[in-house]
Symmetry: C2
Subunit: 395 residues, 2 copies
């Protein structure tokens, strides 16, 4: 992979704005658009009822599984097709066979996608949810692991943790956490919304039990797509919560009141019933995986994020929130005298630069947040820093 302009030509959305918010939604590549357009024409002009209708949906879901697996260091049977990171989180969290009094640990810098299903099992199954304070998620990785280990009791069953925090941007020591958790027979369910895409992943090496990501963010797929990885030997640790076509096998035993779940992680599919979205997700995923490659992508993200960190740090009146030693693709910061919402609105309105802000929960920072992905350029950063300085001049 070489010429960034050739890559950007495949992403018309990146010319609509200075695109610094992939953490919400990435730009759609032309290959995905074309795949979707083809399916949409088919849906209009062809009867969606030929004998290949359902088999073709199944094949398309398997194409997604293959493309995702090759990007994250997994095998296709470990991948479920979902409609969002949150889908995957609730499937994994609600899927555990909770007993009243069981405990679930999560960090203080989680997204509602991990928090709300945790509160749901608290409410529905009497699970105790404990919040482990790891500050901004930076510092010595051993301290993060130790904080969780101290909170583990004989009743602890699961750790819910972001691989990269959506507020502070910190990349957490997932592999080390998993090793520690498994030593205590505790499962780890990870929110990969901000890591699936920008971080070169080898999930078998990390060893995590469940890992839920979005299709529309760093993978640049259609909205309403996602994936859930469940480690092959942990599939049986989770019950199905949702059941639909393709998630069960063969004929139901009607009077026996039983059925067999589909083999592997396909039993956890929550989406993939629309060929437009599934074809778009498969095409976008194949493109980033095969054409760009996870090593090129993650290296480029590191370069651009490093540069952004440096340039933002140099600005007067800017305080960095993201711990420097834990940067992935997100950088959170504050500008003296202007709130995150105001900065976002003015950068968009006056400078054509799209970023976002994160809102304060009790133990989360309030901040402006920029996303750096492989298609971003030094010029994008120039527009950002000039915009900030211009706004500072008018404060």
């Amino acid at each position: 992979m070489a010429d960034i302009n050739i890559v950007r030509d495949q992403l018309p959305g990146v010319t609509d704005t200075v695109y610094l918010n992939t953490g919400t939604c990435g730009p759609l590549p032309l290959v995905a658009y074309e795949a979707m357009r083809e399916e949409m024409s088919h849906d209009l002009t062809k009867a969606r009822i030929d004998s290949d209708h359902f088999p073709s949906l199944g094949r398309k879901r398997n194409e997604v599984r293959e493309a995702v697996a090759s990007y994250v260091g997994a095998v296709p049977s470990e991948i479920a097709v979902t409609s969002s990171t949150t889908d995957g989180m609730y499937v994994a969290i609600l899927g555990y066979r909770w007993q009243a009094g069981d405990e679930l640990l999560m960090s203080n810098i989680e997204h509602p996608g991990g928090m709300v299903p945790s509160f749901l099992v608290k409410r529905r199954f009497g699970v105790r949810v404990k919040v482990v304070d790891i500050g901004l998620g930076g510092g010595d990785p051993a301290d993060v692991v130790a904080a969780f280990e101290r909170a583990i009791t004989p009743r602890t069953r699961m750790i819910v943790i972001s691989h990269v925090s959506y507020t502070t941007g910190a990349k957490l020591p997932l592999k080390e956490l998993v090793t520690m958790a498994h030593a205590h027979d505790v499962l780890v369910v990870a929110d990969a919304a901000q890591s699936y895409g920008p971080v070169a992943l080898d999930l078998h090496d990390i060893g995590v039990d469940a890992y839920a990501g979005s299709g529309q963010k760093w993978m640049c797929g259609p909205d309403g797509t996602g994936m859930l990885y469940v480690r092959a030997d942990r599939v049986g640790d989770f019950e199905q919560t949702f059941v639909a076509g393709g998630t069960t096998m063969g004929t139901l035993d009607y009077f026996g009141g039983s059925y067999a779940p589909a083999l592997g992680a396909a039993r956890f599919d929550t989406a993939g019933r629309n060929t437009i979205l599934t074809a778009g997700q498969a095409a976008a995923t194949r493109w980033i995986s095969s054409e760009l490659g996870k090593d090129w992508v993650s290296t480029r993200v590191q370069e651009m994020a490093g540069l952004a960190y440096e340039e933002l740090s140099r600005l007067k009146g800017v305080t960095m929130v993201t711990p420097k030693e834990a940067v992935a693709g997100l950088i959170a910061f504050n500008v003296d005298g202007i709130s995150g919402p105001d900065l976002s609105a003015r950068l968009a309105g006056e400078h054509g630069v799209t970023i976002r802000y994160v809102t304060k929960y009790i133990n989360n920072p309030e901040a402006a947040r920029v996303s750096l992905h492989y298609f971003n350029t030094p010029e994008d950063l120039g527009a950002l820093t000039e915009g900030i300085q211009s706004i500072q001049g008018t404060l």
Copy 2:
């Protein structure tokens, strides 16, 4: 509504085949296609990250709620946006606060969309699932109601029932069942896959507690769309199972471990995170609801189904399965000497006529099945009966 040819011109899919399988997927109307195309172009060329991104998703979901509500005799706050009938069934069935030993009743002619979530609560929560044999679902409606009433015990909490059976095609006496069930303080969750669209509905009059339908079948929307109606005063009888953007309100109480569900049935949304699908569903639903109207649609369905029943009954060697007094839009039948799968394959391959077949579960009939919708014509029926006779001639 008058000229059927003008209506058919809006549905290019109906010229691809003799379209007699709406019960699987309907043809997509041009207005829905255009709405989807517009959203797809926006996704390609515009950054999907402006400040209106999430509010616009919420507005589109509300457009779906409004269009659906006006078609089924409900109010928008009673409608959840889902991705399938099965979505709605599992949300309602898993959402009940089951205690071990509680009982759930279902008929012998249910679809896996109602059966599998029932077996899931059996497995996960120790619920007893009892099958009530109502034969083909025809005969005196009072007998159907009585069969269920005899099965009710003090532990019965829920009846799971199709409004129109996908195998026998029988329209069941839902209103009478609901009246009886409510007298015993039992909830009724209905599978509307084969009734939402072809049957003129007034859900407030029927009184059903939860009613789950598909977008892509009789409503002719995109695949992967659906709706769940939950009666306003029963929303609180169901817990959330899935939680995503828009299904909760405001800020989570992080350390308190709690949150507030969204108002009304919106808390049960499982889909609506893709503007292409949501815009397509809203456009297709508005079209059938406002341009065609449920009275015209249901009258036309009755006419066409009546005609189909008559013409099929007249054929030698054809045995009707659907009880004549309970016909809605589906007609199931068998042809001597040729199985449903073979008949479907030969009608499609040799005569350009698309029907489907239903498979035998223990207490369900095996049969060929045709769907009659508003866009079907006497010519479609001619092609069907000629095809059958031609195949009979070669047996």
